[in-house]
Structure formats: C-alpha cells, structure tokens
C-alpha cells in the first residue's frame, strides 16, 4: 500500500494506460456506431456525398458568374470545402455523442459514472466521426484534382507546412468539438442542428471559400482571431503555392496591420498555434463549467422532445 504523499511512478503509468484504453475503446465504439449498420460502399457514399455536393455548388456558382477569376478560385474553393467537411464533422462529433447518449440511447449518465474519464470517452467518440469527415475531405480533394481542375503537383507541395498545419488544425477542430459538447450538455434535444449552425457561422469568417479581405474590417479581425482560417491558409498554400491568399490581399486588415500583402508560412503556423491554444483553453474551461452545471441541475439524464 502506498503512503499518502509518496510518489508512485507506476501508478501514473497505470492511469495513462487506463486513459489510453478508454480513448481507444471509445474510438472503436464510435466507429462501430457510425458504420456497422451498413456495407462499406453505402457508408462511403453517405460520407462523400455531402462534401462533394458542397464543392459542386461552389464550382457551379463560379461557372455561373464566369470570368478569369473563376478559374483561379476553383482550387481555392475546392480545398476550402474539402477541409470544411473535416471541420463540420469534428465540431459536430462530440456534441452528437452527448445528444445521442443522452436523448437517444439514454446512456450518458452511465458513461459519466463509469471509471473512464468522461471527456476522454467523448473525445474518442468525436475522433471517430472526425475520421469519417476526414475521409470525405480527402475524397473531395481527390475529385477536385481529377475532375474539377484543382492543380496538384506532389513535387511542389510543402509537406512540412502541410503536415504541421494539419496536425494543429485537427487538434483545434477537436477543441471546437469540446466547446460544442459543453453547449449541448445544457440544451435540449433539438441541439442536433446546433453544431452545423456553428460550423456554418464559422464558415463566414474562416476564408474557406472567399478571401477575408471582402469582409468588413471588424469581421476580418474576428476571422484572424479564429484558428480555422489560419489552418486553411496554411494547408492551401502548402498544397499549391499558386492559390490566392484568404488571409491577406490588397486592402485586407492583415495588410493594414502588418504592411505585408500576405503572411509568410512561419507567420501562418505561429498564428495557428496561438489562436488554436486559446480556443483549446477556452474549450477546456467551458467544458468543466458545463459539466459541473449539468451535474448540479440534473441535465445528464434529461430527455426532451418536440
């Protein structure tokens, strides 16, 4: 038996092992819940249809307007839409896990009282859905390259920037998912649509499908304060340096503040890291607060309807 106050490294390792096991189990459970009711082809179609259709809407919008700018923007919007499929699924993943387990399967209270860390279980479930979104994003990008004229040259891709921005970006998306889970712990059943609504709103300020410079200055400032725009900028630039910048550009807030037309790769990564850290911190605080309030008010086993 360990005396109180003594250090026991073995116990810490055991806790880490338990956490990892909970996480892996939650990911497997999430994946099973997502996909085990159907055959892989049907699931593939469901996963890919949404982002591909979203990209096609924008491509046709470009075609309708016509002009030389539309060719230049085709890669811009397809990459933005592909990455946005990951954002949408990542933001929704944890929130949907809360709503499904509370309202649908009515298991949330049992998950909460289980020995596993509650947040770790939710993260596992969220990562499973994020993976589905990521598959949709990759395939959208592939269709963009094959059929929609997106420029792709493996030799020109800046792989370190691509990998670094993707890693930080994905972590940020998961943090936003935690934030949405915190919100959905407090709200009623119809919160199913809330993550999509939040993702739709962030779509406006993230430069996913148009440069931020077109927005009013205060909205541009909001966009620069969120990490998603920096992630998409980093990815888009690493994928094809010929893509227009969504952050900078003539008359943009970025140019007004820094004097540069577009940010450098290092600046993009630093800004992504800083804004991502802030969002992650905010998400952690919000989740702790929300969970405490949910316990106080008996929201963990509340069910609603309309």
């Amino acid at each position: 038996m360990t005396a109180i106050g003594t250090v026991n490294p073995g116990a810490a390792v055991a806790v880490r092992g338990e956490t990892l096991r909970s996480f892996v189990t939650a990911v497997r459970l999430g994946w099973q819940m997502e996909a085990n009711w159907t055959d892989p082809l049907l699931f593939f179609i469901y996963s890919v249809a949404k982002p591909v259709a979203a990209a096609l809407i924008l491509v046709v919008m470009l075609q309708v307007v016509g002009g030389s700018a539309t060719v230049q923007y085709r890669g811009f919007v397809v990459i933005g839409t592909a990455l946005w499929a990951i954002v949408t699924s990542g933001v929704a993943g944890l929130a949907q896990a809360v709503l499904e387990d509370r309202e649908h399967y009515r298991m949330l209270k049992y998950v909460y009282v289980s020995p596993s860390e509650f947040l770790v279980v939710l993260l596992g479930r969220g990562v499973a859905r994020l993976s589905v979104g990521a598959a949709g994003g990759v395939i959208t990008l592939a269709i963009g390259v094959v059929a929609l004229g997106v420029h792709f040259d493996p030799g020109r891709i800046d792989w370190p920037i691509l990998l670094a921005s993707t890693a930080i970006g994905l972590a940020t998306v998961v943090a936003l998912g935690v934030l949405m889970a915190a919100v959905c712990l407090q709200t009623r059943q119809e919160s199913w649509q809330y993550p999509d609504a939040v993702a739709g709103a962030l779509f406006l300020v993230s430069g996913a499908v148009f440069p931020l410079a077109i927005l009013p200055m205060p909205v541009q400032a909001l966009g620069l304060a969120f990490p998603l725009g920096w992630w998409i900028e980093g990815f888009r630039r690493a994928f094809d340096p010929g893509n227009p910048s969504a952050i900078g550009g003539a008359g943009s807030l970025f140019q007004g503040v820094t004097g540069q037309l577009i940010p450098s790769n290092t600046e993009v990564l630093v800004a992504l890291l800083l804004t991502g850290a802030l969002v992650t911190l905010a998400a952690a605080v919000a989740f702790r607060f929300s969970l405490r309030r949910a316990k106080d008010r008996g929201l963990l086993d509340r069910t609603t309807g309309s």
């Binding site: 259709a53 809407i57 609504a197 739709g200 148009f210």
Partner: protein, 295 residues
C-alpha cells in the same frame, strides 16, 4: 348524472357502444391530435432561448458566406438576392429532414411511437401536426434570415405578381412537407441510417435543387429536379417571380407551370404518405419492430 364518457360525447357507457364514434367525434379527435402534435414545436420556440442564436442568427451567417462568394466574384446583385431567398428556403428543407423525416425514428427510440399507434386517431394527424408545428418554427427562421439579410446586404426584389408569389410559396411548403411525411415513413424502417440519410439529403439536394444558382444551369439534371424535388421547383419559381427581368439563364418552365407541378407534388406526396404510413405500420406490426429501439 353525467359521466366522463358522456362529457366526451360518446353514445353510451358500455365499451362496444362507446367505441362507435360518429364522424364529428372522429374529426374533432383528429383535429385535437394535430393541434396537440404541433403544440410542442410552437411552444418549444419560447422555452429554449438558445434557439434564437443557433437557429436564426447563425444560419444567417451561413447564408452570408455565399453572398460574399458572389461579392468576391463581382456577380450581379440579383445573384446575391437569390442566395438570400435560398437561405430562407433551406430553413424549411432542414426542418423537413430533421424534424419530419427523422422524427418517427426518434419517436420510436424514445418510446412514443407505440403510443401514437395505440391512440384513437389517424396517424396522418400526427404527421400533419408535426408539419404544421415545423412550418411555424421554420417560418420564423426563414423570415428572420430574409429580413436580416435583405437589410444587411441591400437586396432589392422586383415582384410583379404578388399573388402568384404567395401561391408558389404556399404550394412549395405543402409539397415540401408532403415529401417530409413520405420520408418520415421511410426513415421509420431505415433505422440507424437515419442520421446519415439526413446528411445525404442536405447538400446533395441543395446542389441538384440549384440552391445559390439558377437550376437551369444544370441542364437535364436541373430539369429532372424541377420535375421531382419541391425545393428545386419552388426556388426556381420564386427566383423568376421575385427578380423579374434579371439576367438569369433560361430553360425552366414559367412560374405558373411550376406552381402546377408543386400542387401535383403536394397531392401525390400526401396520398403517398398516407399509403406508406399504413403499409409501414402493417409491416412493422408483422415483423414486431414497432417497439424495437435503437436499430
């Protein structure tokens, strides 16, 4: 002395006589069921304050994103207006998918479905109630998006036939919610695919419906959409009516013809929903799946 049974207008106190309802009793019970099923949707608007942020303000921002795409491309202003109209109409489609199509599957999971089937009214009353409540919810959201976006982006409409606009709008809602009732029956048996099907019926349907761009641009696919998807038909008719004289691509039928298509869709969808819900109920009873949850 009046008994409880007398108070509800039944003709006798023994079970056989009491179960023999006249037409008025049947009609009143069904109307009460419609009102009762619509009520939580209407009342829910005032109970959940977060709804204002998540279902009015944020969807407006989503619509605004597409406005800025056109602004970035220096498109004619009518295209911006078209995005605003599309943003308003998507409120109804989203409602149809999540709160009509998916609803019976969720009701089954929550244990309400067997109560609906056991209650003494036609199941269509439940579907009508869901539709009316949903229309009310979505109308508030659509109006908010329309008013805010029109004000913020300075959209100007050029309407020459107001009566036709109103008729097309009402027919579009009737057709949309008719399709919603059909989908509700199907989703009931599709089970765990419900969420994924919901996602599948959003962006892909937006694309083939010509959301944010004139559906005529899609050629044959657009023509098929106008013939079979109420969102496409309604959007195209309204685009022609509220932006008269705008330089949109031509190729779709005139609004009066599209109104006719919408009316046919509404009637066919409602009849199909009635047939399907009866068939699905019978099939689910035979297979013992009415009360089987989470599958």
């Amino acid at each position: 002395m009046a008994t409880g049974l007398d108070l509800v207008g039944r003709s006798g106190t023994d079970p056989r006589t009491a179960s023999n309802w006249n037409r008025r009793q049947i009609l009143l019970t069904n109307l009460r069921a419609i009102r009762g099923r619509a009520y939580p949707r209407y009342r829910g608007l005032f109970r959940e304050k977060s709804w204002v942020l998540f279902e009015i303000l944020l969807p407006f921002l989503s619509t605004a994103a597409f406005v800025f795409v056109y602004r970035a491309l220096h498109a004619p202003e009518q295209y911006v207006g078209f995005v605003v109209v599309g943003g308003a109409m998507t409120a109804f489609w989203i409602n149809v998918i999540w709160m009509m199509a998916n609803q019976l599957y969720w009701e089954k999971s929550q244990g309400n479905l067997e109560l609906y089937f056991a209650a003494p009214m036609h199941f269509m009353s439940i579907l009508f109630g869901m539709a009316l409540g949903g229309m009310f919810m979505s109308t508030t959201r659509a109006l908010a998006v329309l008013v805010i976006a029109t004000t913020v982006f300075g959209v100007s409409f050029a309407v020459e036939q107001w009566l036709l606009v109103v008729a097309v709008f009402v027919a579009t809602l009737a057709a949309l919610y008719g399709v919603g009732m059909v989908l509700a029956s199907l989703f009931l048996v599709w089970g765990r695919e419900a969420y994924h099907l919901g996602q599948f019926f959003l962006e892909p349907v937006y694309f083939v419906s010509g959301l944010n761009f004139p559906v005529a641009r899609l050629g044959l696919l657009g023509a098929l959409s106008v013939g079979f998807i109420p969102l496409a038909t309604g959007l195209d008719a309204m685009r022609q009516l509220v932006f008269s004289g705008a330089p949109f691509p031509v190729g779709t039928p005139p609004p009066a013809v599209e109104l006719g298509i919408l009316l046919v869709m509404a009637v066919v969808a409602t009849l199909a929903a009635r047939w399907m819900i009866i068939s699905m109920e019978r099939r689910a009873r035979i297979e013992g799946r009415l009360t089987v949850r989470w599958q």
